[in-house]
């Protein structure tokens, strides 16, 4: 039975394309009102999962509940509760923004007045007034993305699903899309489920799941993932030095030489705080930086470790 706390419940979901197991027995929950992030590299199985939840792709097995409705029996009701921004735009390039939105509103059981009102609200919320009568083909990438999101929201869904909403956009536009998502959550209270490649974006989520080759390999609050999988470290710039390495080993300092950056990465541990390391190796460390662990490190650690296992 579905739990009313959750917007989405996925239980033991499986989907294969021929011999490729795109989604391999994954389970997760999305709390109502959350900003839920699905993190994974290309081909991890993000879109596959999203398309199944969106009712447009058949699953092989498992259970999916959306807003309390069972995907197997109530797919039509689920369609009413979700708005999807697909990885590739589904807007009609030849039509104007307003035409695109107007056509989409008729797909839902709204009265004429309600449709008008919804479109009006969306125009205000997503700031579409200036581009309303432009054709989609004439818009910039960021503007298109805004209209994509608007299209998904014409029926005031309770769950907004965005498949890589920021991929292919420049950093400034990515920021703008994030502001938009924040605004939508603030003003509508919608649950937002998104996928991304970018780690710094997952940091903004209320919950993160890392998926790789169809498996969930890590999940938790962004802050937990960060503390679990990334540590503060020092870069000590300089050439490879066997004597330095010997001394590091003797003092049980975890290290690794990074050829890209041209220096040793010295990791902070409980026994060896950053300050201790610096004091102890005063002579050897001449030019250094102390760096905070980022989500990127966490991601590399999580997926990298998994990959190593696979190769063993």
């Amino acid at each position: 039975m579905p739990n009313s706390k959750y917007s989405v419940e996925v239980i033991n979901l499986v989907k294969s394309y021929g011999s490729v197991k795109a989604v391999d027995n994954i389970s997760f929950y999305v709390s109502k009102g959350a900003l839920f992030a699905f993190l994974g590299v290309n081909g991890a199985g993000k879109s596959t999962t999203i398309n199944i939840i969106s009712t447009i792709l058949k699953k092989d097995s498992g259970k999916v509940y959306v807003e309390g409705f069972d995907l197997d029996t109530d797919a039509q009701k689920i369609k009413n509760e979700i708005g999807i921004v697909f990885q590739n735009s589904v807007l009609d390039q030849q039509l104007t923004v307003l035409q695109n939105l107007t056509i989409r509103t008729t797909f839902y059981a709204l009265t004429r007045e309600q449709r008008k009102k919804n479109i009006q609200s969306i125009i205000e919320l997503l700031d579409l007034k200036e581009i309303l009568h432009k054709r989609i083909a004439q818009l910039s990438g960021g503007q298109k993305r805004r209209v994509d999101i608007a299209r998904a929201m014409v029926h005031a869904p309770r769950l907004l699903i965005l498949d890589e909403p920021t991929t292919g956009l420049d950093p400034k536009t990515r920021q703008a899309v994030w502001h938009l998502i924040d605004k939508i959550r603030r003003e509508t209270g919608m649950t937002v489920f998104l996928t991304t490649h970018y780690l710094e974006e997952a940091e903004k989520a209320s919950y993160v799941i890392v998926i790789d080759r169809g498996h969930i390999i890590e999940h938790g609050l962004p802050i937990d993932l960060k503390t679990r999988h990334s540590r503060d470290y020092i870069i000590s710039y300089g050439k490879v030095s066997p004597t330095f390495e010997k001394k590091l080993k003797k003092n049980k300092v975890e290290f690794k030489y990074d050829t890209d950056r041209g220096g040793y990465l010295l990791y902070h541990t409980n026994k060896m705080k950053v300050t201790n390391i610096l004091k102890k190796f005063e002579k050897e460390i001449k030019d250094f930086e102390v760096l905070k662990g980022t989500m990127d490190d966490a991601f590399i650690n999580i997926t990298g470790r998994k990959h190593d296992h696979g190769n063993e």
Binding site: T48, I56, L57, L95, Q99, R104, F107, Y108, A109, S121
Partner: protein, 334 residues
């Protein structure tokens, strides 16, 4: 922010149908070049006819009709009326199928661009989407064929061969709508099984190369072996062509037919007439154009029967479209 949620799940189908038809129409007509080139195909065929085929076909019919001893010959001018009306009407019928097929590249584009994921994820019926495609196809094809029919009228008038009255014109447009609906139902069904533009382009190439001959647009079916005539009888376009011929030739035959001796008339009707012959006997012998087809083992299929058969085809295709709706709105993830 104030927004309304749908109260029920069921949408009003007729409204979705109307909006989708409108959407298809707007998306398609936005590309004016595509419309122009779609219409260019029958016009180019017409030009080829005027430049090369016209005199060739005239000499063949002249020889058949005017070589009977003891019967006064018919002048070229009169023969030309039948020849031209015969060819133009056949081209109109062919046009209804080829334009319809080309117009349906919208369906394929929607599949390829993944736009129909939008339809699939909304609480609307695939049947409505499918029939909106079909109706849109009907409207565009009708519109473009209408333009072409007007071109044929202008041509006939310019040649001083216009023998049609107001009722005939009305019948021509009625038949056009009738056969266009048949073509739209057929091509929408075909396109439900096609997923890429490249495949559609090959299908269009094959169809434009063969169909004109198979349904008797370019060449009288009576010149085909009997067995072949029976085979093409099962192509809906064959009946569409015959019906359009009836609409174009009825008045000229009534007005000018009395100049012909009965033998000549029978040859004329066998070559450029509107009846279809379905051969039941003597399948392996070839057709003698100067002999009544009934005496050669054929059953005459008159326009009223052709109309029934076409109606049957149309209904059948619509039913199959319903069954194939999942293919028409197929989504695949890239």
């Amino acid at each position: 922010m104030e927004m309304s949620k749908p109260k029920k799940v069921r949408v009003r189908n007729h409204e979705v149908f109307f909006q989708l038809t409108k959407r298809n129409f707007l998306v398609f007509t936005r590309n004016k070049m595509r419309m122009f080139f779609t219409l260019m195909v029958p016009i180019i065929i017409l030009i080829i006819y005027i430049l090369f085929l016209r005199s060739l076909e005239l000499s063949s019919i002249r020889e058949a009709i005017n070589s009977i001893e003891g019967i006064p010959p018919i002048d070229d001018k009169t023969l030309m009326v039948f020849m031209d009306s015969w060819f133009l009407s056949g081209n109109v019928a062919l046009c209804s199928i080829s334009i319809s097929l080309q117009t349906n590249n919208l369906i394929i584009n929607d599949k390829e661009n993944g736009i129909n994921r939008d339809f699939a994820s909304a609480p609307i019926h695939k049947t409505v989407v499918t029939f909106a495609y079909m109706f849109f196809n009907f409207l565009i094809t009708l519109l473009l064929c209408f333009c072409f029919v007007c071109v044929t009228f202008i041509f006939l008038a310019a040649m001083n061969e216009f023998y049609l009255n107001a009722l005939d014109v009305l019948i021509i447009f009625g038949v056009l709508a009738f056969i266009t609906l048949n073509a739209s139902a057929f091509t929408t069904l075909v396109c439900s099984f096609i997923d890429t533009d490249a495949t559609l382009a090959s299908v269009i190439a094959v169809v434009s190369a063969c169909l004109g001959f198979l349904i008797g647009s370019f060449m009288p079916l009576s010149l085909m072996p009997k067995l072949m005539q029976d085979i093409v009888f099962f192509i809906p376009g064959t009946h569409a062509t015959a019906l359009m011929r009836y609409a174009y030739l009825k008045s000229p035959l009534e007005i000018l037919g009395n100049q012909f001796n009965p033998t000549q008339l029978s040859i004329l009707k066998n070559q450029v007439g509107y009846n279809l012959i379905f051969y039941i006997r003597d399948m392996m012998t070839s057709v003698d154009l100067s002999v009544d087809p009934i005496l050669q083992g054929g059953a005459v299929i008159t326009p009223d029967i052709q109309a029934y058969i076409t109606t049957g085809f149309t209904c059948g295709f619509m039913g199959l479209n319903f069954l194939s709706r999942k293919n028409t709105v197929k989504t695949y993830i890239k």
